[in-house]
């Protein structure tokens, strides 16, 4: 029942926003809807912790600890972004960003805000669906759904560059997803020979996982490769990452934040589901090797672009490439530590990343540019809150203690060692150090320095609240993780470990 609720709430919110066209109403609807959604997600988690798994419509929808975690994170991100979005778009309106392209002749875009407030819930809906769908085919459909919804977010501002970004995103995403679909079909095929032609359940994860051991090995290998490339594209793993910087720097901040966390989580979720199958069928080594290669490659690719970067919106994208690399690497390291580390990292990343986007958004709206050399530095004087938060969240995201990402990275490192990947661990650390250095140099040049004499910003209540709230969560998470949340993560780890 609760599963249905989780799916319906965003749909209603979207519909409502589509029908009631007045801005305040849409804002209220949006925020409340996502607040409710988050509440439901929490309830779901509680239920999962009690009962282990929930399913609906004879297992068409199915939620275990892993999916509950993803739902929770998606809902959290959605809520944070919806609060921030209010302030963000009001600012945009004040700056007259939407004026120049009123005559958008797409048949259902009437008004920009309406477009946003209608699309976001759909976007979130499909994210939730990803987590709740038991059927791997539906999972694919849902992820495709997130792509379609987010394409519109990317082309939101209708600039030439946003169209370009949207095109690249759509095409690359499309290719990626068709690879994923191919992989899904092959999985079905390899299962098919075991399960026979049971039409619907044949793609149900809960059924597949049971007898993954007897699947046809060769098919499963091909399937996993395709899935890795496919969902890897969505997760932005090198060398399929190329769409990310463009998309992230063009989408409106809240949308970008959801792309960087929600979609990333969904893609990784899909990857993990198949990883479980493949490791049951082929043993963990096959998957691990590929995952480690791609994970390290992503981190390695992210490094130089972070070191020499002109645009702080693109900087964020590369950071998220780096983080997806870390998570994939952790998955590759495997073992209880690695998987725990991966899920912890997913959690902490989704909690921390939005704040980075918010700070960047504030700065961008304040300076009317996203280029470093056009920013004169010394933002701390004109926007003390955002500036300080920016520095803090930079440190947090680059994995320095006491912030929570350090815990997960430490765990992942331990996993690497206990997996015997000594040299790889050294690579991991040196990449992390380089990324830290690059990031900090950029952000410090932005935040610190003599007062350039800009007018004071940081006035909007909504933006302040979202940033402060999130910052508090980030700091607290460094020292205290709610026990049920950790329990959930541990149980999810158990699921990934097998069964």
């Amino acid at each position: 029942m609760i599963l249905l609720g989780l799916l319906i709430v965003p749909l209603i919110a979207g519909l409502a926003a589509f029908l009631l066209r007045r801005r305040p109403v849409m804002e209220v609807v949006n925020v409340t809807a996502f607040a409710v959604l988050f509440g439901l997600a929490v309830v779901l988690c509680a239920q999962i912790l009690r009962e282990g798994s929930v399913s609906l419509w004879k297992g068409f929808f199915y939620a275990d600890a892993l999916s509950a975690l993803v739902v929770l994170l998606s809902a959290f991100v959605a809520l944070a972004c919806s609060i921030y979005a209010v302030g963000y778009f009001r600012q945009d309106e004040r700056d007259g960003v939407f004026q120049e392209d009123e005559g958008v002749r797409a048949w259902f875009v009437v008004h920009k805000l309406r477009e946003y407030y209608t699309l976001t819930p759909l976007f979130v809906f499909s994210m939730i669906l990803v987590a709740l769908a038991n059927n791997l085919g539906i999972l694919w459909v849902a992820i495709e759904g997130t792509t379609l919804a987010s394409v519109f977010l990317v082309m939101f501002y209708g600039r030439a560059t946003s169209l370009e970004a949207a095109w690249k995103y759509a095409i690359i995403g499309g290719v990626g997803l068709s690879m994923a679909l191919f992989g899904t079909i092959l999985t079905y095929y390899s299962a098919h020979q075991v399960l026979g032609t049971d039409t619907l359940a044949g793609l149900n994860w809960s059924v597949l996982v049971g007898n993954a051991a007897q699947f046809d090995k060769a098919t499963m290998r091909l399937a996993f490769i395709l899935i890795l490339l496919g969902y890897g594209t969505k997760a932005g793993i090198a060398p399929m990452h190329t769409w990310k910087p463009d998309a992230y720097s063009e989408a409106p901040i809240p949308g970008a934040a959801m792309l960087a966390t929600g979609v990333l989580n969904c893609a990784l979720y899909g990857l993990v589901r198949f990883y479980i199958l493949s490791s049951k069928c082929l043993g963990p080594q096959f998957g691990s090797r590929l995952l480690i290669i791609f994970g390290l490659m992503s981190m390695g690719v992210a490094v130089p672009f972070i070191l020499v970067q002109k645009n702080f919106r693109r900087l964020l994208a590369y950071s998220s490439i780096d983080h997806s690399g870390i998570m994939v690497l952790a998955l590759g390291f495997g073992g209880p530590l690695g998987l725990l580390g991966m899920l912890l990292h997913m959690t902490f990343h989704s909690i921390t990343k939005p704040l980075l986007f918010f700070c960047a958004g504030n700065v961008q709206q304040h300076l009317k540019t996203d280029l470093f050399q056009q920013a004169k530095g010394g933002l701390i004087h004109s926007m003390p809150l955002s500036g300080a938060a920016f520095l803090m969240v930079t440190l947090a995201l680059t994995g320095s203690p006491p912030f929570s990402l350090f815990q997960s990275e430490f765990t992942i490192l331990r996993a690497g060692f206990s997996g015997g990947y000594f040299v790889l661990a050294i690579f991991l650390i040196s990449f992390l150090v380089l990324i830290f250095s690059g990031f900090l140099v950029h952000i410090v040049s932005l935040v610190l320095g003599p007062d350039p004499g800009l007018p004071a910003a940081d006035t909007c209540r909504w933006k302040k609240f979202s940033a402060l709230g999130l910052a508090t969560v980030v700091v607290v998470m460094g020292f205290w993780i709610p026990t049920p949340l950790f329990a959930l993560i541990e149980r999810a780890t158990g699921i990934v470990m097998g069964g």
Partner: protein
């Protein structure tokens, strides 16, 4: 007792049609005129529908008929119509020279077919010489080839529309695989996929249109303002 068609015959027909589909795909690689490459796609999709129908007929799998109908309706009817309208509206008729010139591209397509067979090789279990395994082995090779060639056209052609076409024909490869290996994925999924493809094409079409507006060209290799 109902009439039981001979699956052997079915397999022959299917393999033949699959081969035809592949030929069409390679032909599309060499094609210059937008309209005609759209048409080629339409024919190809129709053939796929037919394959689905044949499979459905020879294995009494009713739900595949639906898939077949959907294919014919959506991929051979709706999408080509939509794309042709788009092309007419934009008023571009010829594809500019692809990145790799035509003869070479065709050569590459051939190699990709080879790759498809090489990969499919590893699925061939000679011990179980059931007709179906053989069929699977054959059609899977074709499917992979279709997929790769579609992919290749995407990164070879410069026009936005042809990239969309490439994406679609790549989807065709998937469909072939799905239909011939497993007699179609569950119906719900099938419908979901079709819906997604439809929407995807709509979205892409919209994008093509607006790109055309913004850049007054459909040459996506000109989209290079976002870079490091």
């Amino acid at each position: 007792m109902p009439y039981l068609p001979n699956p052997e015959l079915g397999n022959r027909i299917i393999t033949l049609m699959a081969a035809l589909v592949l030929v069409l795909q390679i032909a599309a690689v060499g094609q210059r005129w937008l309209i005609s490459s759209i048409r080629i796609f339409a024919v190809q999709s129709f053939l796929l529908g037919a394959i689905a129908a044949v499979i459905a007929y020879f294995n009494q799998a009713e739900h595949i008929y639906i898939a077949a109908l959907l294919t014919v309706f959506v991929k051979a009817g709706l999408l080509p119509r939509f794309l042709e309208r788009l092309v007419k509206r934009i008023g571009i008729r010829r594809e500019i020279e692809p990145l790799i010139n035509v003869p070479l591209s065709i050569l590459v397509a051939g190699c990709l077919t080879l790759v498809g067979y090489v990969v499919a090789e590893s699925f061939y279990h000679p011990e179980e010489t059931s007709a179906r395994a053989a069929l699977g082995h054959n059609t899977l090779a074709v499917a992979i080839a279709l997929f790769l060639i579609g992919f290749f056209t995407m990164l070879n052609r410069r026009k936005a529309v042809t990239q969309v076409l490439g994406l679609l024909s790549l989807e065709n490869g998937l469909f072939l695989a799905a239909i011939s290996l497993t007699y179609g994925v569950p119906l719900v999924v099938e419908i979901g996929i079709f819906f997604d493809v439809l929407v995807a094409v709509m979205v892409l079409g919209l994008l093509v249109f607006r790109i055309r507006e913004a850049f007054d060209s459909m040459d996506v290799s000109k989209l290079r303002s976002l870079h490091e």
